[in-house]
Amino acid sequence: MIRRSTAILSAVALAFAGFVISSANSQQSPQPVKAVQLMGLSGVKDNAKGTLKVEGNQLHFVHAKESSDVSVTSIEDVVTGADTQAAVGKTISTISIAAPYESGRFLALFRTKIDTLTLRYRDGEGALHGAIFTMGAGGAEAIKKDLVAHGAHTTAAEEHRTTPAPPSNPPGKEQRQ
């Protein structure tokens, strides 16, 4: 009876340990997040599409078979925000201008939610740089947590997912397509 309960306890302990190890591994090497670099990253064109990933002590932005890296320890501030962008692309948006009675404006009502990730970091000379990324809803917070876990600093409180808008304005979060 004692042997049987010991075996059950051991099995439970092993299963728990396996779960903990797998979850820890998943935190260390998260999946790359598809992102658009709006501006700021050195050597990367504006609106470049790529993937963001935190690995080691580096933030990698992989785009067009090239990788731009920022040392996590050089990051002074990480801020996430919520935003929206037009649901239709530029081509359809342009074509819709020709629609009769300006009915193409109807398409502007459809927008999709996105996240923004804003970084402030310093280079080797101490010069301050900034970079802005957009990504699918929910992606920015995971990257931010990874960055903070690896030593990046943040001034925004963890609970505040969105940047507060000025009190005189409605919380319009549309900032850039």
Binding site: L38, M39, G40, D77, V79, G81, T84, A86, R105, A108, L109, R111, T116, T118, L119, R120, R122, E125, G126, A127, L128, H129, G130, A131, I132, A156, T163, P164, A165, P166, P167, S168, N169, P170, G172, E174, Q175, R176, Q177
Partner: protein, 173 residues
């Protein structure tokens, strides 16, 4: 022949009358302040709550536009240690005084409403803190484009102000 001479005379006189005022105005234009390099401090927004992406977009666009059309030999970023040894350096301090977050959706649907605007006080100082030039510069996006386009508009205007008022020490134009 006499008639032709009269015509030429009056044409010359009228040409002088019309061209003289702009020439004199150009002479009265204040001399540009000598500056070879500029250091751009991070945009401050203590009184106005400005979204982080706006703050960074203002800063990055400002540096780009100053490099492009500011007329300076060097443009240094906030905290750049190389600026300490730069000669004829001016420092640009920018403080947000007004911000109205518009709506791209409203702009697209109505055309006339939903404008985004931002007003920033730009102070150019010497490295020892002496004020050289103060200007309020605004950035707007009224019809087309995302809200962050207002930061580009501001940066272009601020770089133009710098170009109009500063020149490298060896030239005066």
């Amino acid at each position: 022949m006499n008639h032709l001479q009269k015509v030429i005379f009056w044409l010359s006189v009228s040409t002088l009358v019309f061209t003289a005022p702009p020439l004199s105005a150009e002479d009265n234009r204040p001399a540009k302040i000598k500056a070879a390099a500029i250091q751009v401090e991070m945009i401050q927004s203590d009184e106005i709550q400005l979204p982080a992406e706006f703050q960074i977009a203002l800063y990055e666009n400002l540096i780009r536009q100053l490099e492009k059309q500011g007329g300076f030999e060097h443009v240094y970023r906030d905290g750049d240690r190389r600026a300490a040894s730069a000669s004829d350096l001016v420092i640009l301090h920018s403080t947000v005084h007004g911000f109205k977050a518009g709506s791209e959706r409203t702009r697209k649907v109505t055309t006339v409403a939903g404008a985004t605007s931002i007003t920033i006080h730009c102070q150019f100082t010497s490295p020892d803190g002496q004020s050289l030039l103060n200007r309020d510069v605004s950035g707007k996006v009224r019809f087309f484009g995302g809200n962050l386009r207002a930061t580009y508009d501001f940066a272009k205007k601020a770089a133009h102000v710098a170009h109009e008022n500063f020149a490298p020490p060896d030239r005066r134009s």
